[in-house]
Point group: C2
Chain length 212, copies 2
Amino acid sequence: MNNEKKISSAVIRRLPRYYRYLGEIKESGIQRISSNELSNRMKVTASQIRQDLNNFGGFGQQGYGYNVEYLYEEIGKILGIDRTHNMIIAGAGNLGQALVNSEDFTRRGFIIRGVFDNNKELEGRKIGKFEIMMSDKMQQFIKEQQIEILTITVPKEAAKEVANAAVEAGVKAIWNFAHTDLNLPDDIVVENVHLSESLMRLSYNMINQGKE
Amino acid sequence: MNNEKKISSAVIRRLPRYYRYLGEIKESGIQRISSNELSNRMKVTASQIRQDLNNFGGFGQQGYGYNVEYLYEEIGKILGIDRTHNMIIAGAGNLGQALVNSEDFTRRGFIIRGVFDNNKELEGRKIGKFEIMMSDKMQQFIKEQQIEILTITVPKEAAKEVANAAVEAGVKAIWNFAHTDLNLPDDIVVENVHLSESLMRLSYNMINQGKE
DNA sequence: TAGATTGTTAATCGATTAACAATC
DNA sequence: TAGATTGTTAATCGATTAACAATC
């Protein structure tokens, strides 16, 4: 759609949080909100909120503020939550199972279509409503079911291989929980969730708490 | 230890990644590395590497570069990986189970000491080697076992309550997987892992892939 | 010593905050 | 109309990159 200037990743990082707050505000029955009031709730500056939103267009109205429902919907569209995305999970371990059983993602339009693993002993075993499939069937499945997103929860040694296979078969994005960097072509979107790095940051901040 | 100037969170965010790369480089038997070679591997500028490291001291040597083993150890110390931290998990659902069964964290010194839930039906059931305990025992446990970190994997409705209870009992940091902001005193460290926000960023980047 | 590479200062770039005219 | 609040420009602040003298 718009091919104007590139939006900075700092802005993108904040968008889902706006979306979450606006969803809650909407649920509580509030219909309009000013950048100033939103800034109080979210603990960010009103200026930042207005700057961020104006990257995507003027959603507000002078003297009035923002219509909560409308802004919520618009941010949803920007984030691509207004459509569904087909997703598969590679890795039927504990984390894979946890993701399959979470309703959170389905609710946001990320539909899990299948679960893969390369442990023969797991073949056909069920996770939720899914029968685990063997990884050698993955590429065909991606093509037939038009899978856009691969979620990787396999150990880091196996991550690059499964990522490459999926990219070859046509996935556009990878949600990577393996603790390694996948080196993929530039047109493949990679979103890393490195839990042990998160825990190390926590550790650092805990040790250095109170330093000014 | 040092109480010099505050280190920016951008630097802290990168530290665990340096640590990971250095660990791999060390494993591969390489003993020294220049900022330039590390920059090629990590796809960041050599300048940034040197700036980041020099926040914590001069770990290198002119004309030589950095000793891999030494730098790895030093970054470990900075991150607090050179000691152990007692941790508990609140929420014995799929995600809680996945975290308990992961060896990754234990290896880094984050030792899980117990798992709590408030579903009576789960009382005494086992996850790995842990018997699930009821949440009303949590505060006593935190005090007796000197727990520093609470991991929250309960639904967002219950998250604030369990966080407040744990803080009252003395935890210093919270690793929060619940999709909500915990409003806690300033001296409590909170590290959020908001998976659905991560997925929304992936979605945005996928839709806008190729925009320049 | 000559070559390499750091540690650090200076320059640039980008992101955040402040201010205010436009306008509902 | 008067008051409120946006959209947007300008000012500030901070982070990244470039450059180079120090030094191993």
